[in-house]
């Protein structure tokens, strides 16, 4: 049943031109949609309400999308509960509710393979020392539930020869751990953390001599960060500024600072920045940009909501998700970095505020 999907995720993620990718991707996504349609009655009803049947896929834009926050409100499962091996919770943002994602073995395996393939393309095959800018407790699960931070970190550890979490429980540099670590760095290093945590560390440790001394012994480390820009945008910090501060602080080049765009609702697929600063779409997913008002698919070069489509989720129908992030497709196959496929950038939200006034009843 899922032969095509399993074949797809083994392909070099940025090797196919559209003619090669499209037919295979459509086959896989059709296979996936049929599976969810048949195994998740709620999803089937949703498709019916959208006048969509899996046998009638015209193109990717005809596949119904779910707003990404639907998993904060509704539990959707396409496999029996007994097959669930892990429950992920996203960070609760403005709504204070986390997305809850149920993973079966098949989904988890696919996620691992795809993530492995994407990250190796950017970091190389050699395993590295990982310095995790987080506390080790973040990696622990409670009753099978794992936080989004924990699952993102755990996902990255497959690339680690060794790893060390260097923050204490208050997310401050733990100097004891740092001094132990100092004598044990003997190969390529990757520093990994959530974007806002890294920013916090940068801000708090400008004059931390112990940390500076430690970092001066590292050179040309890769800095991978994930988790989004919302908190930093609130502080009016843009990517260029962040990359520059980050590379200075961690003693590396700006093109070694890599932002990974991804979401708990479609874990296993991340969209890293290449050395030109563009995000690349691997063969096992595709993105569309939709107009924020008409919801029609935008042309390349136009801004809108980013829709992510991937056949990887098996235990839940998170195959076509509309995110609230704004992006713009810059091109396909012709990024100077040499990677094939779609590449895009994030766009800042407009500063338009919705009107508030006498109708503004928050709590009735």
């Amino acid at each position: 049943m899922s032969e095509n999907i399993d074949k797809l995720i083994k392909i070099d993620p940025y090797s196919l031109i559209p003619e090669e990718k499209n037919s295979l991707f459509i086959k896989c996504i059709s296979e996936s949609i049929k599976f969810h349609y048949e195994n998740c009655i709620e999803y089937q009803n949703y498709c019916k309400k959208k006048n969509f049947h899996p046998d009638n896929i015209v193109d990717l834009s005809s596949i119904p999308y779910l707003p990404v926050d639907i998993f904060k409100k509704i539990t959707l499962l396409s496999v029996p509960k007994s097959e669930i091996i892990k429950i992920l919770k996203s960070s609760a943002t403005t709504s204070n509710l986390p997305s809850i994602i149920h993973l079966d073995k098949k989904t988890a395996n696919r996620q691992m393979i795809s993530l492995n393939s994407i990250i190796r393309n950017f970091l190389g095959d050699e395993k590295m020392n990982f310095i995790i800018l987080d506390n080790k407790k973040s990696l622990e699960s409670t009753n099978g539930n794992l936080s989004s931070r924990g699952s993102a970190i755990r996902g990255m550890l497959i690339f680690a020869k060794k790893f060390t979490c260097i923050l204490d429980e208050n997310l401050k540099i733990d100097s004891k751990i740092l001094s132990k670590l100092e004598n044990n760095i003997d190969s390529k290093t990757c520093i990994f953390g959530f974007t806002w945590v890294i920013h916090k560390i940068l801000t708090e440790n400008k004059n931390n001599k112990i940390l500076k001394n430690f970092l001066s012994n590292l050179s040309q480390s890769s800095i991978l960060h994930i988790g989004g820009w919302k908190k930093l945008t609130d502080l009016s910090i843009d990517k260029k500024q962040f990359n520059s501060e980050c590379s200075n602080f961690f003693n590396t080049n700006t093109d070694k600072v890599i932002d990974l765009y991804g979401m708990t609702e479609q874990l296993g697929i991340v969209y890293p920045d290449c050395e030109c600063g563009y995000k690349h779409v691997p063969v096992f997913s595709e993105i569309l940009i939709r107009n924020t008002h008409s919801l029609e698919v935008q042309n390349d070069g136009e801004t809108g909501f980013i829709q992510v489509i991937s056949p990887i989720p098996n235990s839940y129908p998170g195959i076509s998700l509309l995110t609230d992030d704004l992006g713009e497709i810059l091109g396909r196959d012709n990024c100077p970095c040499g990677r094939k496929g779609t590449y895009f950038i994030f766009k800042k939200r407009s500063e338009m505020a919705d009107p508030k006034g006498c109708g503004d009843t928050i709590d009735i």
Binding site: I70, H293, E296, K356, G359, I364
Partner: protein, 433 residues
């Protein structure tokens, strides 16, 4: 006083300034100098002026906003006389002189203006300022207006006073009694100057805005008129709907659309009383009919205003949720949304033309969801006795007004339980013996 970039003098004496460097206290001194002129105007002449102003806006080729029809109706002589009469003990000549009221022979009464009315106008509905400013001027109070962030339409409407002159009043003279300024919420120095100089503080706004205004220092005798955050809904019964399905849908589509639901009188939920003996399809049939009317109103009468990306996503998210939990009627874009839901109670407002239709077994059950935040309850109930009983119940529990559907958005007295113009005057009596 230091110069603050958070302040802007928009206009006074009918002259546009747009100047951040002017001094607010000097503007207030200038405004106060118009007190005697305004006091000397006759109420009948003021009514005549506003009636002509409404006509002038109605007949103008210029764009005065989607809600122009509303304001023109409000400014009509008939309406203003009714509003004044109901607010001022039945005789609005009391604004001009000492007169007897009712059949009380031994005393004469006169309603004096309080002085300077300061209006904090919210950004949600561009015409709110006009309603409170006209009421203040009719009661002969000077107007100092704190404009919302986007004040272009309010400024345009007010400055167009200049284009109207009646036999007794020139628009320019009346405009001299209005000063329009912009003060940011965080500019507490200027906010406090506004508040301390107010004889009447009129605050339109949400929780945060109104709380900020109420926390400002004021004079001991200042009157507060608070038009704070409110929620509105409608309720219809089967009997009414069976005879008026299309008409009810058209009227409610108008009520939902007119201010894009940003106003306190915009309905967010429509309950349909439908018990077991009624037509089981009626509620969904009504939802379909309403969706058709929402489309018509948007296309032909009241095009939807632009919304933020965040609001657009809120709408899509809610639609998806109720695609699973209920039924959603909506176009491909985000212009309007009708959601059929059997969830109990009042729906949380999403705004932006998103309305819930909910069946309810017994209209009176709605009382259990009532509190003082409920403002307008649009009614579509045929039987007069049933209607009266329901109104008595829901207003006892907190609702402020129960207009017929289609008229929910009309500004009228009382508003939020207040006869606004009554609160804008000081009542004086003298012996008639």
């Amino acid at each position: 006083m230091g110069i603050l970039l958070t302040f802007k003098h928009i206009f006074s004496d009918g002259i546009s300034h747009e100047n951040p460097e002017d001094d607010l206290e000097s503007l207030i001194v200038n405004l106060k100098s118009k007190k005697e002129w305004l006091h000397s105007q006759k109420i009948d002449d003021l009514i005549e002026f506003f009636d002509s102003l409404g006509d002038s806006w109605k007949n103008s080729n210029e764009y005065f906003g989607n809600n122009l029809k509303h304001i023109s109706e409000f400014l009509s002589r008939d309406n203003l006389e009714k509003e004044l009469k109901i607010s001022l003990r039945g005789n609005f000549s009391v604004l001009d002189e000492f007169i007897p009221l009712f059949d009380i022979a031994d005393s004469l009464y006169h309603a004096q203006p309080r002085g300077i009315s300061v209006h904090w106008i919210a950004g949600n509905v561009d015409i709110l300022g006009i309603f409170s400013v006209v009421q203040a001027l009719l009661t002969k109070n000077l107007c100092l207006i704190k404009a919302p962030h986007d004040y272009s339409l309010l400024k345009k409407l007010l400055l167009s006073f200049k284009d109207v002159s009646t036999e007794k009043i020139s628009g320019q003279d009346l405009l001299n009694c209005i000063t329009l300024v912009y003060v940011e919420r965080d500019d507490l120095i200027n906010q406090e100057i506004l508040s301390k100089n107010a004889d009447i503080r009129i605050a339109w706004g949400g929780d945060e805005a109104v709380s900020t205004i109420l926390s400002l220092k004021k004079n001991f005798f200042t009157e507060d008129i608070i038009y704070g955050p409110k929620y509105s809904y409608a309720i219809l019964d089967s009997e009414f709907l069976e005879n008026n399905l299309k008409n009810a849908a058209q009227r409610l589509a108008f009520d939902v659309s007119i201010f894009d639901q940003n106003a306190c009188n915009s309905p967010h939920t429509i309950f349909v009383e439908n018990n077991d003996s009624d037509n089981p399809n009626l509620v969904k049939d009504f939802a379909k009919e309403l969706s058709s009317s929402m489309e018509t109103v948007n296309r032909l009468m009241l095009p939807k205003s632009e919304i933020s990306e965040k609001k657009s996503m809120d709408i899509l998210s809610l639609r998806a949720e109720y695609d699973f939990k209920g039924e959603v009627f909506a176009p491909k874009n985000t212009d309007w949304t009708v959601i059929y839901s059997e969830d109990e109670g009042l729906a949380n407002p999403c705004f932006s033309r998103v309305v819930f239709i909910k069946p309810i077994k017994n209209a009176e059950d709605i009382g259990k969801f009532h509190n003082r935040k409920i403002q307008s309850i649009g009614l579509g109930i045929s039987n007069l006795e049933k209607r009266k009983k329901l109104i008595d119940l829901v207003t006892m529990l907190g609702g402020d007004r129960c207009p017929s559907i289609g008229s929910m958005s009309k500004f009228q007295s009382p508003w939020d339980g207040i006869f606004g113009m009554d609160r804008m005057v000081r009542w004086i009596s003298m012996s008639n013996q």
